[in-house]
Structure formats: structure tokens, C-alpha cells
């Protein structure tokens, strides 16, 4: 290994640049894996308490308001524990250029002119005066709502853009008529009966669509599926560029490297010794790149909140939640990254060296 390292130091900048680029590739791929895995675990843990079934009404394929008369019929279905009419919608605040989710709730003992908001609302609203929000209703009337409380900052990943108000305030803001709701949240006693009950609901109300909790969880399990989407497109360009660079470096041995092999052969080194030398050379580069990349990715995702991804995730949005992810590592994926980082590069380093080392040393030295 001493000889390998000395040999590599003779081509210091070439090898350093290779390690830097390789580390960057590993860093990007591992960051995506860590981030996606942590977000998925978080979603699975938290959304376990989402409603078992959400019933939406459709009209001409579009989401429509659902009549409250549907509640009674759904409650009569055996196995249904509770049906809650949900009122929620989107409010676009022009001054901030941001969308907010307004929800009605009876659980916070709010008066009609009071709201509870998420931290993201406070950060981005822009026109908060003396702890009041000014909201323009559907009819152009201005509503002044007092901020009674702010939701816990630890819940920002789920509550950053929330504005919680009473049902009558909600109807004043959006003009949703009495007797209608946005959708219905159905709680079911036996979770194994969710699909059956959902089918019964659709049988009674063919103009509805059920969204099961299992579908919600599976949606988030496949979120950030890094095998699709523009993450892969971005990475594929970088990976392809790196592969071309690495292949060129590994397969096209320079004259200096060829003559080095020829000299070693002339000095009595066996082919197996040369291959071992090249094996160590490849291993040093990929192991160094792997550790730098993975350690950097861990720090990036779990210490700096994946700050490099923030722009991509935020897109054109004004509001972006501040959150810390619990370190959750999928060792299978990490071992796949290790295998893909180490073995192919070592292989493409050894193969051309084998070709040169089986050639007559005299001819090799003359070529170099």
C-alpha cells in the first residue's frame, strides 16, 4: 500500500480531482437516500392517526362540496365509529404571494374572530399587525382575525401553513353555504373493514370517492421515489459525466502509468503483484470517496436540514417549513451505495492494468 500511495501522490492533482468528483456524486446520491428515507419514516409515523377514510364528493370529475345529509347515512353503516364534516380550503394572500390552508375546528375553543396559526404563517404573512390577520373574504369584505395562539414549532412539517378558525368564520371567508362541507372524515372501529366500508359508502353515494388512510401512507412511501422524477435526471447527468471521466482515467492508462508497469515487470514483479497494486489504487480512491460522501451527506441532511435541497423542494413557494428530521438510515440502501461505489471502479481499474501487465515489459516501456 505504501508503494500505491507513493505512486498516487506522483499524480496528486489528478487523483485528488477524481476523489473530489466521486465524493460529490456519492454525497448527492446518499443525501437523497437519507432525506427520502427520513421523510418517509416521519410520514408513516405521524399519518398513522389520519382519518381511516376521507370521503370526497365529485362532480364532473372535479372535487365538489359534500352535503352534510350524507353524514347520517354513513353513520348507519355497521363498523363506522364517527363521521366528521371537515371544512378546509386554500387562501391565497396576495401581499405575501403565498397559499395558506385554512381549516375549521371546534377543538381549540376559538371565538369567531380568533385564529390559531402555524409558524410559517407568522413568518410569511407580511401584514400581521398587533397579532391580527387581515383576510379578504369571498365577497370582498375584510375580516380582522386575532391570533390567539401559534401552533408548536415542532409540528411545522404538518402545520406551517395552517390557519385554524371556527366553522362560521370559515364560511364567512370562503362563502361555503351552510349544509355543506369540504369532505367527510370517517373513523372506523375495525381497520380491516376500511375497504369494505368504503365500498359500501360508494354504493350508497356513487358520486363520492373514498381516500383510504392506507392510500395516503402509500402515497408518502413512494414520495421522493428517487428512481423517478427530476432528481434522477439531475443525478444521471452528473453520474454519466463522472463515469466518462472515470472510464477514461481507468481504461486509458497514461504513458507514465504504462511505463511504470513495464518497469515493475522488468524488476521482477508478477502480474498478480501489479493487479494488487491497481486494486489498492482503486480501493483507496473509492473508499475515500465513499466515506467523505456518506459523512458529508449525513451532516447535510441531519445537521443542516438538507439545505441544498431546500430550493428544489420549495420551488416557487414562499412558505417552506423549518423542520428537523430524525436520523433514520436504511442500511440496505447504504450497502447498495457502497457496492456501487467500490466494486465497479475497482474492476475498471484492474482490467486495463491486467492487459498492460501481460504484455512484454520491453514493448510497454518503449510505448511509454
Amino acid at each position: 500500500m505504501d508503494f500505491t500511495l507513493s505512486s498516487m501522490l506522483r499524480r496528486k492533482w489528478k487523483n485528488i480531482s477524481l476523489i473530489v468528483v466521486y465524493s460529490a456524486i456519492v454525497f448527492m446520491i446518499t443525501s437523497v437516500i437519507f432525506f427520502a428515507n427520513a421523510i418517509r419514516k416521519e410520514a408513516e409515523a405521524v399519518l398513522q392517526d389520519a382519518p381511516e377514510v376521507v370521503i370526497q364528493k365529485l362532480m364532473a370529475g372535479r372535487h365538489d362540496l359534500i352535503p352534510l345529509t350524507y353524514v347520517e347515512k354513513i353513520m348507519e353503516i355497521r363498523g363506522v365509529r364517527d363521521v366528521e364534516a371537515r371544512l378546509w380550503g386554500y387562501y391565497y394572500h396576495q401581499a405575501a404571494g403565498s397559499n395558506y390552508t385554512v381549516m375549521a375546528t371546534d377543538d381549540l375553543a376559538l371565538k369567531d374572530d380568533e385564529v390559531v396559526i402555524g409558524h410559517g404563517v407568522l413568518r410569511t404573512w407580511g401584514t400581521v399587525r398587533e397579532k391580527q390577520l387581515y383576510i379578504r373574504g369571498y365577497d370582498g369584505r375584510l375580516l380582522i382575525l386575532k391570533i390567539k395562539d401559534i401552533l408548536n414549532a415542532d409540528t411545522e412539517l404538518f402545520s406551517a401553513d395552517l390557519i385554524l378558525t371556527t366553522a362560521s368564520s370559515f364560511r364567512r371567508i370562503f362563502g361555503v353555504p351552510a349544509g355543506f362541507a369540504t369532505d367527510l372524515a370517517v373513523r372506523i372501529r375495525n381497520l380491516n373493514e376500511c375497504q369494505t366500508i368504503a365500498e359500501k359508502i360508494v354504493g350508497i353515494f356513487p358520486d363520492t370517492r373514498p381516500v383510504l388512510r392506507e392510500e395516503i401512507l402509500r402515497t408518502y412511501r413512494s414520495l421522493f421515489d428517487w428512481r423517478s422524477g427530476y432528481v434522477l435526471v439531475l443525478l444521471s447527468g452528473a453520474v454519466l459525466a463522472f463515469l466518462i471521466f472515470a472510464w477514461d482515467k481507468a481504461t486509458g492508462l497514461s504513458g507514465e502509468e504504462k511505463s511504470e508497469i513495464g518497469i515493475l515487470k522488468a524488476l521482477g514483479w508478477d502480474t498478480s503483484d501489479i493487479l494488487l497494486l491497481k486494486f489498492w489504487e482503486g480501493s483507496v480512491i473509492c473508499l475515500t470517496a465513499f466515506f467523505i460522501g456518506v459523512l458529508g451527506a449525513y451532516v447535510h441532511v441531519f445537521f443542516t436540514r438538507a439545505s441544498l435541497f431546500e430550493h428544489a423542494l420549495k420551488g416557487w413557494a414562499v412558505l417552506y417549513p423549518l423542520f428537523r428530521l430524525k436520523p433514520e438510515i436504511n442500511f440496505y440502501q447504504l450497502s447498495v451505495v457502497f457496492a456501487l461505489t467500490v466494486f465497479p471502479y475497482v474492476l475498471i481499474t484492474i482490467v486495463p492494468a491486467w492487459r498492460v501487465s501481460t504484455t512484454d515489459p520491453d514493448a510497454v516501456m518503449r510505448q511509454g
Binding site: G61, N152, F158, R218, G229
Partner: protein, 97 residues
Amino acid sequence: MRKSTTYLIFIAACITLLGFLLWVHPHFNANYFENSIRKKQQLVKMLGITDMCLFTEARYTRHLSQADHFAAFQDSPMAFEHFPSGSLTLPPLRFRK
């Protein structure tokens, strides 16, 4: 010191650090994360929340699981995906079957 010794110390340090980060570091703030998840669970249960607040630029990315067929094409029938987060996320599962 020999170069190989230096390199092996470097690798050993990396392995130790990686092992520490993977197996020990998660326990440092375990209480904080447990409390944090519990608070989120309480909020989700109380309000019946169905989606994360990660992509707030469009309604079909804000509530990924609740979007209907028309939400993504709200601007025009041939509207290609123009929100960056729409490129990152996939449609709800039932639309992909």
C-alpha cells in the same frame, strides 16, 4: 509515519465516525424526536390532517393524497407540469394504477 499507516488511521477514523453517527448519534436526541412526533400525531388526530406541509406552491402538491384529476391541469388542458415540486412528486397512488 508510513503513508499506509496514515491512510489506515484515516479510514479507521472514518469508520468510527460513521459508526458513531449511524448507531450512537440517533440516541442523543431520541427524547426530542419522540416528543416531536407525539405532538405531530396529536395534531394530526385532532384536525384529521392527511398531508405534509412540504410543497405549498400548488394545491395538488400541498395535499398530495387529496388531489383530483383536474387539479394538475387547472390552468389549461395541455398545461405541462410547471411547478418545480410537481416534478419531484408523483400523482396519488390511485391515479398510477
